[in-house]
Amino acid sequence: MSPALENLAAILIRNSLILFGIINVAAVMTLVERKVSAWMQYRHGPNRVGPWGLLQPLADGVKFIFKEVVIPYGANKPLFLLAPAMAAVPAMMTVAVVPFANDVILFDRNWGPLAVSDLDVGILYLLAIGSMSVYGVILAGWASNSKYSLLGGLRASAQMISYELALILSILAVIALAGSVNLKEIALAQAASGNPLDWFIFKQPLACLILIVAAFAETNRHPFDFAECEPELVAGFNTEYSAMKWAIFFIGEYSAMTVMSSLAVVLFFGGWSVPFWPEAPWYVGFAAFGAKVSCFLFLFVWVRWTLPRFRFDQLMRLGWKVMLPLALLNLLLTGAFLAFG
């Protein structure tokens, strides 16, 4: 085979594996969420489909496909049908720049890093596309012709604007340290020595905290899930959705969680770096990356089943009066340290 064909095949295989993987992570997360919540509440959780309920996501998927798509009277039909895709697609697009592992060495050849694209403006791309997922939420709220959905969508957009700032400012401090907006370069800056103390969490603990809190808000997860807000808004933006349309929102939510977890891992936990083993082969690095992301995904679920939801004014106060000044202060200190330190 000519090298060009080989490259094309490698790209196709790698990209479809990553897309397949992210959708499967989303499916598995629905089971993890239900299992973990059950364990925390002294319950068993789903355990009827397959061993330990492992086939539950499959059963759910079949159920979603066979259910009826109900479009409410007076709904804006094109937008109503478009909204779930708008919510899910950005999350899957942002996966493209996540470097899952270092350069893949296979069949005596270097195939480049395990990522769909080793983009030089990786973080900018990720933030730009990632914020678009709120369009899906607000379109769903607006097109549903339902006051609950609309309120959920409005809250989601207000929340997204408030926390996006703190998120970006916290990331900016890391960019200043690493001197690059390429996610692979940032991971390499931490992974090169194999010393876990080089991870940016130890240099930027405040930025890491702000990023994690903002990630919860960005993905509309507890304790900031105002887009759903079951007690007062039924189910928020997805009140009127059913069947696969509804499921796509959740694939989007879990994909966004995965991307946010990957982002936190790359920025603060050394990406694919294995502690004390800088020359680890790429598959070990990939496993380390997976383990770190799994810990973060578990944190998302863990926090959801621990904390009560904020009040909306508390959310706004936290976003504008605490997170934003803290992120600015952190950036200022980092800048001063880099300039004079």
């Binding site: 059950a38 364990w39 925390m40 002294y42 068993h44 863990w302 089943w305 621990t306």
Partner: protein
């Protein structure tokens, strides 16, 4: 008027982070507690003679039901679940039911039939599960209701024991 005094939060509590960590540690520890949910079909409900399940007709050792179709249970039934047609028999008790239906969909498992029966012919069993694909199938006839006295012995003994305080020596 009630004045609710809000608790003054200390600085650490207002920081929120330590309290979040405390909450997280609690939920993490609770993950390893044994679940208290009963896995019902695999783990059956505990049953003993006090369990008041569906009523069943007692079949005596000679193979005949103890019922003499007096109709007292039919009259006592608050849900009108029991239907009895009586008939004659050559046996010393002279009467026996030719039809004894209990509509299990109407039965409320109250146990009045058991109390009303003068012949110890109907007792509440420990059978609780009731499922079928049609309503007609849940109207139990005599064949479905018959249980040998030996199988009901625990319940019969129990009913005798709790009724002992009302029984004077002359009435037995």
């Amino acid at each position: 008027m009630v004045i609710v005094k809000r608790k003054e939060l200390s600085f650490l509590e207002r920081l929120y982070i330590p309290e979040v960590l405390r909450g997280l540690s609690i939920t993490f520890r609770k993950m390893f507690v044994k679940p208290i949910t009963r896995q019902y079909p695999e783990e059956p409900l505990p049953k003993d003679e006090v369990t008041r399940g569906q009523p069943r007709l007692v079949v005596k050792d000679d193979g005949a039901v103890a019922c003499v179709s007096c109709g007292l249970c039919e009259a006592a039934c608050p849900a009108y679940a029991i239907t009895i047609d009586g008939g004659e028999t050559d046996r010393p008790i002279e009467r026996e039911p030719v039809r004894f239906d209990i509509d299990m969909l109407r039965c409320i498992l109250c146990g009045f039939c058991e109390e009303a029966c003068p012949k110890d012919a109907i007792f509440m069993s420990d059978e609780l599960e009731l499922a079928d694909t049609s309503r007609a199938a849940l109207v139990y006839d005599m064949e479905k209701l018959k249980r040998p006295a030996s199988a009901m012995k625990k319940r019969i003994d129990y009913v005798y024991r709790i009724n002992d305080r009302w029984r004077t020596p002359s009435s037995t």
